[in-house]
Subunit: 531 residues, 2 copies
């Protein structure tokens, strides 16, 4: 460990921690060895400084030209793209995820692409839903929150969900809210490298430098105190359910918006017809989706429902063989390994039978591909415990007796991010789809046909969200522009305000051709042009 | 009091309360006399029956044809319109609000107009924001919540915000969520008459009869229990801050969405130039807005800021004279009268000086038009207490020394529904507007120029909402279609789902000409038509 503790980013300057209680290093989870510089665990003074700095530029950032915001997002994207290889190598070392398999094509392009989509949404004002009612002299749009946003990044996406670079970051900045990023302690070196690029891009774009702060870590109690601070406008959180619910309680009590992505087991239904058509291929597809990245995805297929029969037996046998033969996956951290072990033990205790895997392995923090099984009746008898998320290369087969039991199970599912139904090409599963899909639809954010749930495109039509408890608000997505931006926005209406005093996209003239709801119709016209 | 206790509406039938602990009658607040039939205070069995009935039709209502939903909303609107005079008379008697001045032109047309706008939004799918991304095979829209909605109506709008007829009602039904209406006990006869019309219209439209339940009253503890029941999807609440915050805590803990409109003092700034131009007229306008309906409006001008000077002295004198000469207004209930008395006492204790009124009066529950005053320094020294809402014909003048103090006061304001700035026609206030408006803008939902805040048009560009604590989510309005509908919706994304299995407004063909985001552009075209 080098002696110097790394600085934190506050108020536009890299500065030493005021009151770090201790420090930590990154760890290579494939070996368990710590490496690199020491990063501070901040205390109350750092947290207060970050919040004060962000609060101080709320007005200035809200008044910033959208063009500058877009330039910042694009300048940052360009810098990330230019450093793809180096960033990927850095992240691989501290996450155990593959640079060439996961980051170089994959998460890093997704991240800079997402920043560019946010820049486009800023230029087009598409996130603001401009609405004009000439008869009543009213105009409205979505606008900055008027307070800073706090983002907690998760361990599993060091780029695309990083508090300093991911979707919550892009969304908060696009809506012109200053931001405090809480980097995840499992990838501090990647976060530092990203923050340096963000800082450079911010200065180049001429935005207030305190638009972005970053802290590496602080104690849980301080996090709860910060989440409950009325000076905050909103929080974006991606992580575990217990941590998320504690933060939610604190922020709810203070009237701070809390957008959380908490946990999800992503039920997958393999209907009888499609199992007959391509059961072997589905076993391979399922195994690949469940074990990719050691299964550490929010959309990992954690539950697979099959209806008892010859073809489901064959599928289960094929899946079992694949899981049994699979190499252990490197978990993001020792803590993550502990969690998945506990979760698997919990599922077994709740009545699931172990078909393959189930053990930790070395070197470092590894876990075997793990397949469990339970019958439908037992699942229904203990539905809550059997829906515990095992964040890793783990899935639970639920073998139901018939379609009626499949429906009963669907009704017992909590809110999830995704729900998937594979159906046969020959139409033989259509009746079963018609029975199950409406029930599943109401319980998930994204309904998928014939494709595993992992892989989340950054799209305007995406929903990476879902009913509680998968997220804290079923109306919003955390991935997908412009929808994700709207989470961090306040609705602003203008009543009888003269044209010259209105925000540019609400004025009579619309030289930029912004899409607006003009007297009930979407239009790019000037007000009065069609009269 | 008649002997029979009125039935409640559950599961499509008017049925006797299972476990009413007691009953209550309406009261004429202009005389203080109770009248009419007895209404039940429901117990746990009624509440459970209502929730179970609503839950049982979630799937059926979600699958209902939008045309049936629209037909119900319109059939209900037609019935209300046909009974305008009788409903207005009923409401006048139990609220003290004027049938001819407030209901016949005013709130009743607003209510059936709102139902018709909701029907139009259903037919046009405008609330669903349909979005299609052909490159990624993703399509999304807003859809029913998958659970019932509970609506608490307030005392002050027996029609336009009634749980069984108002904006939350129209919004919940438009989004195809079953509803439990908690009528306000200050106007049970009006609520009963409305529920009868709703019930008729529901049966006529062929929707599940349990789409709508209504209870008149239940104890506070039961309300908290219900709010925290995970079988609920969302709550719409309009009422007092203490009641709202208690319910919010209960629903937050259960992951139930809580949309509250809590309280607001609606700051009004009268800049020096406009006071010079029309100070006398503004005093009349202010007095009228503040005392209309005995000031019992969420958007009542509860705080007026003037900058010291000759013209502000004249304005204050004119306003004082008007308030002193005004007749006491009939409060909605004895409880309301008590609250406004306590609030005025609280403002005086916090340092406000009484300029006019301040007393209760008879017969019944009346309160004098009341004007208080405080200087800017004292306001800043005690800003929290001096922002207490006095729900009645009451306003606090804040006399600030200069523009800098006006800005400091603006920064001290909590979130409010509205903020108003009056500015001179001759441009002499433009500099002051430029200083104050951005600060006020960030703290209010609707920014108004040169018009008092009372009077809320049902418009797509309306925002009857604002930053916490005026409401619980600054991104949504409770008035204005289609925005208000989106509160009670879940985002649904479809991933690789075949065309025939998609909701109608997401299919390739678009025979209804629905406005959709098609590959980044708003369009009414079929998918593929422009390729």
């Amino acid at each position: 460990m080098s002696d110097a503790i790394q600085p934190i980013l506050i108020a536009g300057r890299w500065q030493p921690s005021r009151d770090a209680s201790s420090s930590f290093q990154a760890e290579d989870p494939s070996t368990g060895e710590a490496f690199g510089p020491a990063f501070p665990r901040s205390g109350a003074a750092d947290v207060e400084a970050a919040l004060a700095a962000a609060s101080a530029v709320v007005e200035e950032l809200a008044a910033a030209e959208p063009e500058r915001i877009a330039a910042f997002l694009e300048g940052y994207a360009t810098r990330i793209e230019a450093r793809t290889e180096a960033l990927a190598a850095l992240a691989q070392r501290e996450t155990g995820l593959s640079a060439s398999g996961r980051f170089v094509p994959g998460e890093i392009p997704r991240t800079y692409g997402q920043l560019r989509q946010a820049a486009k949404a800023v230029r087009e004002y598409s996130w603001t839903l401009p609405t004009i009612d000439t008869a009543n002299g009213l105009r409205s749009h979505l606008a900055p929150l008027g307070k800073p946003v706090l983002v907690f990044g998760p361990n599993n996406f060091p780029f695309a969900f990083n508090g300093i670079a991911g979707s919550d970051f892009a969304s908060s900045i696009a809506a012109r809210n200053p931001l405090i990023a809480k980097a995840h302690p499992s990838h501090p070196n990647t976060s530092k490298a990203l923050a340096e690029l963000a800082h450079e891009a911010l200065l180049e774009a001429g935005l207030p430098a305190a638009a972005v702060q970053m802290l590496y870590q602080f104690p849980r109690e301080l996090g709860l105190e910060l989440a409950g601070d009325k000076r905050l406008g909103a929080i974006g959180f991606t992580g575990s359910r217990p941590a998320g619910l504690a933060l939610k309680a604190a922020s709810d009590a203070a009237g701070v918006l809390f957008y959380a992505e908490l946990s999800s087991i992503n039920p997958v239904y393999l209907l009888p017809g499609v199992l007959a058509e391509q059961g072997e291929a589905l076993a391979a597809e399922f195994f690949s989706s469940c074990t990719m990245g050691a299964g550490q995805f929010c959309t990992n297929p954690g539950v697979v429902v099959v209806i008892d029969g010859t073809h489901s037996d064959a599928f289960v046998a094929a899946a079992q063989a694949k899981f049994a033969a699979g190499a252990p996956g490197v978990m993001l951290s020792g803590g993550g390994l502990q969690h998945v072990q506990q979760a698997v033990a919990g599922l077994r205790q709740a009545g699931a039978e172990l078909l393959a895997g189930g053990q930790a392995a070395g070197p470092g923090h590894r876990f075997q591909p793990t397949l469990l099984s339970v019958d439908g009746a037992r699942f229904l008898a203990n539905a809550e415990a059997l829906q515990g998320e095992a964040f890793g290369p783990v899935s639970l087969l639920v073998r139901v007796a018939d379609l009626a039991q499949a429906k009963a199970i669907t009704r017992a599912f909590e809110g999830n991010l995704t729900g998937t139904i594979y159906r046969a090409a020959d139409g033989s599963d259509d009746a079963a789809w018609a029975e199950i899909a409406p029930l599943l639809r109401a319980r998930v954010g994204r309904l998928i046909a014939n494709r595993m749930p992992t892989g989340v495109a950054v799209s305007a039509a995406q929903n990476h969200g879902g009913p509680y408890p998968s997220t804290s608000h079923p109306g919003f997505t955390s991935v997908g522009i412009p929808g994700a931006v709207r989470r961090f926005a306040a609705l602003h209406s203008y009543d009888q305000v003269p044209d010259a005093l209105l925000p540019v996209e609400l004025r009579d003239g619309n030289p930029g051709g912004v899409w607006r709801v003009l007297d009930g119709q979407w239009s790019t016209a000037d007000v009065g042009a069609l009269a």
